[in-house]
Symmetry: C2
DNA sequence: TTGTATTGCAACCAGATAGTTGCTATTCAT
DNA sequence: ATGAATAGCAACTATCTGGTTGCAATACAA
C-alpha cells in the first residue's frame, strides 16, 4: 500500500473521531487534565462509563490515545498528538490541491 | 454565539463530510473536472444519482459545494474552499493547544 | 472473608445514515 | 405530440452509531 493511502486512512479515522462532539469532549478533558481512566472521564462528562469506553476504543484505534496499564487494574488513557498532525497535513495538502486545480480551471477558461 | 463556536460548528461539518470515502470521491471529481451535475458525478462514481444527490446536499449544507442553476433545468455543483480552510485552522489550533497543554503537564511533573 | 471499587463484556434499544427503487415534473428536440 | 434526458421527492431496507442496563471478574482494604 502506498504511503499516501496510509496517511489518508489515518486522516479518515481522525476526521471520524473529531466529527463527534462527545469525542472532542473526551479529548479536551484528556488535554486539560492529563492521562485519565474511563471512570474519571465519566465523572466529568454527561455520559456513562461504558459510553466513554466505546469512544476511547475508537480513539485508541485511531491512535489518538494510548492505554497505559497501572496498579490495581487501573487503565489510564493519554493523548497522542501524532495522528492529529498527520490529519492536519492531509487537510493542508487537500486544500492546496483544490486551490491549485481551481486556479488551473479558471486560467483554462480565461486563456 | 461566540465566533469560536461557529468555527467549531463549521469544522465539525467539514470533518463529517471528509470522514466518508464516497464524499471525498465526490469532492475529488469536482476538483479534477470542475463544476458538475449529479448525473455527471453518478457516471464517474459507483453509486446512483440519488445517493450522490444526498451527499451533495450534505456537502452544500457544510458549505463545501454550491449549486448554480444553469440552462435546461441543469444544476451544477462547484467546490467552495473556504470551509476547508476554516477546518484546517481549527485543527491547527487544536493541535497547538494540545501540545501546549501536554508540555505544561510534563513541566509540572518535572518541576 | 466480606465489602468496595474498578474494568470489561454482552445484550438490547432508538435514531441516524447510506443506499436503492419507483414515481412525477420539467425541458427541449424531433 | 412524442420521446429522451434531467432533477426532485418519497418510501423502503439494511446497517451503523451512540447510549443504556446488567453482569461477571479482578484487586485490594478492612
Amino acid at each position: 500500500m502506498p504511503a499516501t493511502d496510509r496517511v489518508e486512512a489515518v486522516a479518515e479515522q481522525v476526521f471520524v473521531a473529531l466529527a463527534d462532539p462527545r469525542r472532542r469532549g473526551v479529548l479536551a478533558v484528556l488535554a486539560a487534565n492529563g492521562p485519565s481512566t474511563a471512570t474519571d472521564l465519566a465523572d466529568r462528562l454527561p455520559i456513562t462509563r461504558q459510553a466513554i469506553a466505546k469512544h476511547l476504543a475508537l480513539l485508541a484505534d485511531a491512535g489518538l490515545v494510548t492505554a497505559e496499564h497501572g496498579e490495581r487494574r487501573r487503565v489510564r488513557y493519554g493523548l497522542q498528538p501524532a495522528p492529529m498532525q498527520l490529519a492536519q497535513q492531509f487537510l493542508a495538502a487537500l486544500t492546496r490541491d483544490w486551490d491549485h486545480r481551481l486556479d488551473a480551471l479558471k486560467n483554462h477558461l480565461e486563456g
